[in-house]
């Protein structure tokens, strides 16, 4: 069995989100070192605030200002901070009920060690040096003895309110394509294309995924297909893709490689775009160092009979 391939795979996206009036007021408030909550119909103050009462589902927008001091309601000591967490040194995760609030806010507490943390301890917000209107404008909490205060009304009005946030996210994976696709990729490195034959219906699938989608059984008989094939269908691409150095218009086609029962897709070159047709016989063109055919070009053979490929259109 060939070695199973693996490669790093990074999924990264900066998610842009718009804010409703309550979230906007809360995050703008953090930028201005002001913590806002929202009062429910039953008189409870929720911090962080939400736009709908979690009990009644009523829309709520009665904003109040609460203190930047509060009480830890539960905690957990994190000896090994992970990437993107708020502090790089060991810290406590905490739920903090800010003075004047009836619910708790999740954040982190900067403390020298777990022995310095307990449920019920008094803490205050440590503001980030630069603030942009995000939950991370609270750098962390820190121990701080003080007397609890009461919430005060707040109109939620600020100059230049924050109306949206961008939340970057990155996840790192090591991708392994499994046995069947590893074999396909390794064959490509030798400029060969392999598929797998279903033991039941005898069809050859390419690229192989280890299963026959018709019969739902494992496929493991490796079959070399191509290198030539037949265009089964195609389209003319008229819009130039970003970072793609191919002049438009060009043709993108489904190609049934000889011996395969499933068409692959690839670009057609070496022929004017308006002369590509169903049944055109093509062969792969490899470029130096590539791990995949760059495109397919006409072989010069007569066109294939429609009956020869109609099952693959």
């Amino acid at each position: 069995m060939p070695e199973v391939l693996s490669a790093p795979l990074v999924v990264e996206f900066p998610f842009t989100r718009s804010l409703g009036p309550v979230q906007s007021a809360f995050l703008t408030g953090l930028r201005e070192r002001t913590v806002l909550g929202v009062r429910t119909g039953a008189g409870l103050v929720l911090v962080p605030p939400v736009e709908y009462d979690p009990v009644t589902a009523e829309e709520i927008h009665d904003l109040v200002e609460v203190a930047a001091t509060g009480t830890v309601t539960t905690w957990a000591w994190n000896p090994t901070p992970r990437r993107d967490q708020p502090l790089e040194t060991p810290f406590a995760w905490v739920l903090v009920r800010l003075d004047g609030a009836d619910t708790a806010l999740l954040h982190v507490l900067d403390a020298p060690g777990p022995e310095a943390v307990r449920t019920g301890m008094r803490v205050r917000v440590r503001w980030a040096a630069t603030r942009a209107g995000a939950i991370t404008d609270i750098a962390c909490f820190e121990p701080y003895e003080s007397e609890p205060g009461e919430p005060a009304p707040h109109d939620g009005e600020f100059a230049d309110p924050v109306t949206g946030i961008v939340t970057p996210a990155r996840l790192d994976y090591t991708y392994s394509p499994g046995r069947a696709q590893s074999a396909y990729l390794e064959a490509l490195a030798g400029r060969r294309v392999v598929g797998e034959r279903c033991p039941s219906c005898r069809k050859v699938y390419v690229p192989p995924r280890g299963a026959c989608p018709t019969c739902g059984v494992a496929t493991d008989e490796r079959v070399e297909v191509g290198p030539c094939g037949t265009v089964t269908t195609f389209c003319v691409v008229n819009i130039k893709a970003k970072n793609l150095d191919i002049e438009v218009p060009y043709v993108y086609a489904h190609i049934a490689l000889d011996g395969a029962d499933l068409a692959l897709h690839a670009r057609i070159g070496g022929i004017p775009y308006d002369q590509v047709r169903m049944g055109l016989r093509v062969e792969p063109v490899w470029t130096e160092g590539s791990r995949h055919p760059d495109h397919y070009r006409p072989t010069g053979e007569p066109d294939a009979d429609y009956d020869a490929y109609k099952e693959l259109v």
Binding site: T74, D172, G178
Partner: protein
């Protein structure tokens, strides 16, 4: 209501990594196993429903590839939930209740090995106030554990005992990833030690549901679903009472758990502390055998672990080792969403 039963269950051996297998390659053996157990073929199945998550694979629409293992051509009636397969089972149960299908194939799979599962799970959190802090799954469970300790509901020794009991039970489960003696270990996020946390691994499971006489024809002792319900709680952790699980209790009530005693409970408690919460919510006492399979502390293939609880409970009924079993599945941080089902063998249905 139609009588609907779980008539077959299969699961993979759960392993730390399965690099040599694509998802469909991992899944296919369990699909074949449940089909073979019933003698059904793909073309006989009325409805197919699956549970998985793209975030585990890091690829969009990864579940569509897994369909190759079902044999989805010619076309089949199929659906997918982006969560644990227990909820796929619920959807399939509803489909059978509508009368549109008499049988259903439900499967679920998850490969956690390609990514950092603690980070991956942060992406299910509220994106405005919580996810930007990257609180990982262990950290959130640890906050709940400390709340339980503060409330006097448990202590660290009791949590260690839960983990030890689970992994000892898993010695009888050839599919488990961890079994036998496992040291309590170091703190991962205090108060949770490595022994209190589930193993990270890859695995898959499948069940077949059938209605009425079809179920009786396919299985000697079908595991009848006498009730099934699922409930969710507020998203904000600071709004919830973390030491309790009112959603589990309500789902159990609606599923009929409290009408008569159960003899077995398969609880989806990935963290030892969560078993404390669930036992309280469900009113389970020492007479109920909890997680004879070892539970999620012995094997926790994400997106399949909840379906496995239903499958394990059903399998005990199939084997005559249980007459009335409770199965529970959870989703979200700190037991946010919970599904409860009651399964019974024929003899207790009169």
């Amino acid at each position: 209501m139609r009588d609907v039963a779980i008539v077959a269950f299969a699961q993979t051996d759960h392993l730390r990594r399965t690099d040599e297998l694509s998802e469909v390659e991992m899944l296919m053996p369990v699909l074949h196993e449940v089909l073979d157990a019933t003698g059904l073929r793909t073309s006989d199945i009325g409805f197919t429903c699956s549970g998985s998550s793209d975030y585990l694979a890091g690829r969009a629409f990864s579940f569509t590839m897994a369909l190759d293992g079902v044999g989805a051509h010619p076309p089949i009636s199929e659906s997918h939930v982006e969560m644990d397969g227990a909820w796929a089972l619920y959807e399939a149960w509803v489909k059978i209740q509508t009368g549109e299908a008499d049988t259903a194939l439900v499967y679920a799979y998850g490969k956690s090995s390609p990514g950092q599962v603690r980070d991956v799970l942060t992406r299910q959190l509220d994106p405005y106030y919580t996810a930007p802090l990257w609180p990982d799954s262990v950290a959130l469970a640890a906050l709940q554990a400390q709340a339980l300790i503060d409330a006097g509901d448990t202590d660290e020794d009791a949590l260690t005992a839960i983990a030890a009991r689970s992994r000892a039970a898993a010695s009888d489960n050839p599919h488990a990833q961890l079994s036998g003696d496992v040291p309590a270990g170091d703190y991962l996020v205090r108060p949770l030690r490595t022994g209190d946390c589930p193993p990270i691994g890859d695995g898959a499971a499948a069940v077949i549901l059938a209605a009425g006489d079809t179920a009786r024809a396919l299985c000697e002792r079908p595991a009848w679903i006498r009730g099934i319900d699922h409930r969710i709680e507020a998203h904000g952790l600071g709004v919830r009472e973390l030491t309790d699980s009112p959603s589990t209790r309500l789902a159990a009530e609606r599923a009929g758990v409290f009408e008569r005693p159960v003899d077995t409970a398969e609880l989806h408690a990935p963290f030892s502390s969560q078993e404390v919460v669930l036992r309280k919510a469900l009113g389970l006492d020492g007479r109920v055998r909890v997680n004879p399979s070892g539970g999620a502390l012995a094997a926790n293939p994400l997106m399949a672990a909840g379906l496995i609880r239903l499958g394990e409970a059903a399998a005990r009924i199939h084997r005559g080792e249980s007459d009335r079993a409770l199965a529970h599945a959870t989703s979200g941080p700190c037991l946010q969403q919970n599904l409860v089902a009651v399964l019974e063998g024929e003899s207790t249905h009169a």
